[in-house]
Symmetry: C3
Subunit: 509 residues, 3 copies
């Protein structure tokens, strides 16, 4: 099915009805709205204004459209930031970042968690049982703009608590991190700082725990919202729209609290950010690298335990990459079909109409700012027509499982094999090789069942836990391990039995 | 005519008389002095010491030389900075910058404006009617070292006032900036911050207004000085020496308060900073790129409404570029003639004698530090001799007008076409193409009369105001528009009629 | 002779005895220990725990090994940093740097100097006359991680005092720095700030004095330790382990307080950091550039007035360079013989056994983390066997002296000839050329006697002092001067007689 992202708050009410009608005529089923609208829903503290959203929902419902309602926590309003300046994040350089973009909040901030709970509660109280609301999207693209990791005093305090819960006694932390090295022994959890602006590099175990903590904080922030929605919007789904090429966040863990995963697919922008040569980039400038969307479809289908949406589909040129060409004719249609073929339940275009103001004014929509249909519209319409003639089969289990480990990305970031390497590049190389062989691939997290796979590819799994080892032992297919697998303990030490650590028993060394 | 920059305060008084005599013998007409001498004119707060400058002026006057006296506001003394630490600028990274170089002040600082008014008043009271003083130069190279834009609390406050004056009501600002996007709605002008250190990119309208404000602050600071000079130095000219390749400042606006424009011509240093290949840079290393000086002569002749000086002419190797070779033999002569041919009324060499200490000790002068003539001297002398044999015709209107828009540079900076593009590069491409055809070019600001031009080249004019449109309509020649012309409204939105906006009526689309 | 670096505190006591036995069996003479152990020697303020070190020393002594005991001041414990947060250094960007790596202290901090004196006194009182202790190493790799130069308030104050002692009267400083330029005149030493975060570049004389001051502070910090050791550990040697390619510190000056110099030799890591092409780097990736170790052996033999050790010898792959390949087979043996051939009295491998935790877990040792011998062990054993069969002749004076001037590195840093040049690159070019001719080279500081040298190479000596001039005049061999020699006065001015300044008399110009 197809959908679209829509911002009624950007347009005069007079246009809403026609917009809704044309969405129906185009054959769209879902409309995502509201995810950046806090300042319009609550223009002044404690004085919500629901009227416009009531009306927008009614208008969309009037045309039989189902709504995905976003919680607006990615953009706290100015009055909220002024009231609680401590919610602003502090970057790795120690600088407090300012209001004026988006995602200007710290996941650990108790004040912001309370405010998030408050606005989500208000939203769910009002629309949790609204017949036009199919489900909710929490926040927007967690981690975008490098926001998973914050270095503010509240994060420091929360990290100390996280460590205390993890290790119980500070001596256990000293042992786990090897603080006998370089006199880094701690006498109390309260002595531990966030690992940044150190004179020499920080202890890798310290870094890894901080990266885990930061990812956990996002999950906790998300779960807080999910709990409110589960309580006040029974029967409605909850999802989140992940982004491409982000590795600071463990999407498998976060998605455990969701009904399914979503992701935002921008093949051209992503390709411009890939570590390719200028020649390669030029070659794929208007189509995107052939594997870039497929890679993420397969990843997020795994993250969603078989279920995923494309919540935002590139409909034309975007605005945020170093270079933003127009897609080659036919690509929007191709990308849509590619998503559906990989099992996407819904592909929603971003956005209905190009907005003529603010940061994303150069980001195309299905329509131009003046309302005339743009190239993406015609391609979406063709897909909609084609879809009516087709019954898509369910996605079957692939012959190949690729074990994707968010933690491995952190291990490689902390201790790269060489300056140019990243875990993601390594996974991408394996993935592309498999695709070139015409093989379908399922992404699974370490420890997931590997039953039924003829081939299991593990690009790299530095830390092998018991459940992962068990899954490998029980695998029926061939398991192929990439470099550095089994090379670290859970606390970032070299295993006593040396690499490949617990895999020694399994591998013919 | 020829001139020179001279720093009597760097040399023993015993040399002054001979220096002046040799200047006269060389055929120089003008001597610029004093623009960095605050700490010597006022070694302690409120206790000026005029003696040395009185004597220097008398010495120069004794040889019939005319003096351009600089106001010394580019270098507030240490005692002033210690007394008002808030005058130090804050950079985009949020760091207060220190005393120890030059231009260490914020244009918005009320304390510094007061101090600037005080020292200029003292200077003008003493020398405003001095017979040897032909005119004044305000400050020095506004904007050098990235100083137009400051991010201090005083700038924030001044910016809020600027916005309040511009928009009247905050709702007008919300409308103009499109703050419905990303929940950026403001309830009061006092909520608006300076657009830096945001988590995602700032709103482009916010940025553009801030860039306009910052340029306006420089003009206001300059006008404050001009007003003092007009009152106390009647009949003396006032100019300012602009720099090459600076785009943070609108020189057309600032120059409205001046009698004519000046600029500082360093062809080799500028060429090393241009976005050229290593091969191109090597090719032009000792001559400068063939168009680099001409481009600025034509630009600043336009800025000066037909009148300009070269206030500083490179006389040999400089010290501040990544690489600083010696000019090829004959280049100093060639550059001088080139300037005169483009209409420069005066070409003043920087400097009379190479100073053996401090930051610019590796910057050549007409003489070596030991007083012996250097290569530049011999070439300047040849020009001086040649000049006596020639009557230069006045510069005629060129066949081609190039519409140069400082605001366009800001639009491109905020929203580049692609990562490598800048407005200046684009203008330069057009300019070079015209020059290769042997065509003379006048630079005009948008809205200026285009009468009499056979060809009007508009490399890019994103924002087309009424007066510019009118000028295009009344143009007699062909008007050639480059990319993105008419693509933005005055508040950085996509025009309702889509690009090229108001140019639609004019263009055969 | 051979030695090894050993960290008993990283291993269970049960292993110590066998480790010591195997060290003896391998033929090692020296073991360096303790240089990062402060938190284990003094786990809580004022409550030292000597037991483990007593036992470690006894164990090593039991096998006839001699110990080099490190003072642990490179790694102040967390409790110390929390008690005196002001000891943390401030970097050039003005950021206070955090605990969590090493070298997190400011050399000027009075509190830290007192703490350093205290811990060294405690250490020397206990082990100053220990029969197994052959000598002491002060701190570790002064200057590593860019720590020579700090920008904290205590440095500012100390710098002002340093200037007052150097110049006596502030007018002398104004004269020396040429503060008439850009209104930089100071009325009091207390007005002078540290030269960073200025808007335009700082005064070069200011920079040079600050660089001298910073180097002096390191020497003073070291001397404070040496004085304690001389008093409490009579007859024991004192050395320090310098690092490769560091130029912020004057090693000749610091070594005046030492018995001999040591340095840490990592040919592969250093090669990866050299300004070579990718092709060159790939070529030497597993052997190191042929001259890189020799260069430093010769440098530190000069620094040690003929005596030096390699305190840390790369035994396999390291962890800290952008790329860290394994040395080609035989390289560890070759490097060891190369060091001995250049006159190293001792070559100590770093480290006995690879540590499985913390920052350096990927740095090889002679043994793997599980205790099995690694490649380096076998090569070291072969050298040990070969050594028993050889009596190494003493190192004779070389035919060539290379005048190496730490101050020149600062002059080039402040005022590079072109963006890509450094003093070190220039010296390296001369050195490599000499080596390619098969010539042995002695490094000597400016002013040292040049008697007996057939050729004296001076890659560049911008500041020529009286004693250096005298040495040149008295030289028996040919003196070859590189560029910019004699180009600056002691206070970073152009000499009155112009470059080559005092060399004019000597050179046939």
């Amino acid at each position: 099915m197809l959908g679209v992202c829509y911002y009624p708050e950007h347009w005069p009410k007079a246009r809403w009805k026609e917009d809704a009608r044309r969405m129906r005529e185009l054959g769209l089923a879902y409309v995502r709205i509201g995810e950046f609208a806090w300042a319009l829903l609550e223009p002044a503290p404690g004085r919500p204004e629901w009227g416009w959203l009531d009306e927008a929902l009614a208008t969309l419902a009037g045309e039989g459209l189902e709504v995905v309602l976003g919680t607006p926590t990615a953009t706290p309003p100015k009055w909220l930031v002024d009231r609680y300046p401590e919610i602003l994040p502090v970057d790795k350089e120690g600088r407090r970042r300012n209001f004026g973009g988006r995602r200007h909040y710290c996941f650990s901030s108790p004040a912001y968690r309370e405010e998030a709970r408050r606005i989500v509660t208000l939203l769910a109280e009002r629309y949790g049982n609204h017949p036009a609301v199919a489900g909710f999207q929490t926040d927007n693209e967690y981690g975008c703009h490098g926001t998973v990791r914050c270095y503010c005093p509240r994060c420091r305090e929360a990290f100390q608590g996280w460590l205390a819960r993890r290790y119980g006694e500070v001596e256990a932390l000293n042992e786990a991190w090897g603080t006998a090295f370089w006199s880094q022994r701690y006498r109390d959890f309260a002595e531990v700082e966030l690992p940044h602006l150190t004179v020499a590099e920080p202890n890798p175990s310290h870094l890894l725990d901080y990266y885990r903590f930061a990812s956990d904080q996002v999950r906790a922030f998300n779960r807080l919202q999910v709990e409110v929605l589960r309580a006040l919007a029974p029967g409605k789904f909850v999802t989140h729209n992940f982004m491409g090429f982000f590795t600071d966040l463990d999407p498998f863990a976060l998605a455990e609290d969701l009904d399914f995963a979503s992701w935002d697919s921008y093949p051209l922008g992503f390709t411009d950010l890939m570590p390719l040569s200028q020649e390669e980039k030029a070659r794929w400038a208007r189509t995107g690298h052939p594997d870039v969307a497929a890679f993420h479809h397969d990843l997020y289908r795994g993250v969603g335990r078989g279920r995923f949406w494309v919540m935002e589909q590139q409909p034309g040129p975007v605005n945020w990459a170093p270079h933003n060409p127009s897609p080659a004719p036919g690509m929007v249609r191709l990308w849509t079909w590619e998503a559906l073929a990989h099992g996407a339940e819904v592909v929603a275009y971003f956005r209905w109409r190009q907005v003529p103001f603010a940061q994303e004014q150069m980001h195309a929509g299905l329509h131009r700012p003046d309302g005339a249909p743009d190239q993406g519209f015609f391609e979406a319409r063709r897909v909609a027509e084609e879809l009516t003639a087709l019954a898509l089969p369910p996605v079957a289990q692939a012959p190949v499982a690729l074990v994707y480990d968010p933690e491995a990305a952190w291990v490689y970031e902390i201790q790269p094999q060489g300056a140019e390497w990243s875990y993601l590049d390594l996974v991408y190389l394996f993935y592309s090789a498999l695709r070139r062989l015409g093989l379908d691939v399922d992404f699974v997290p370490p420890g997931a069942s590997l039953k039924g796979y003829a081939l299991i590819v593990v690009p790299s799994l530095p830390i092998v836990r018991g459940e992962a080892l068990k899954a490998f032992q029980e695998a029926e297919g061939l398991v192929l391990f990439g470099p550095r697998s089994g090379s670290k303990t859970e606390t970032f030490q070299i295993p006593k039995e040396l690499p490949p650590g617990p895999l020694q028993a399994l591998l013919p060394l």
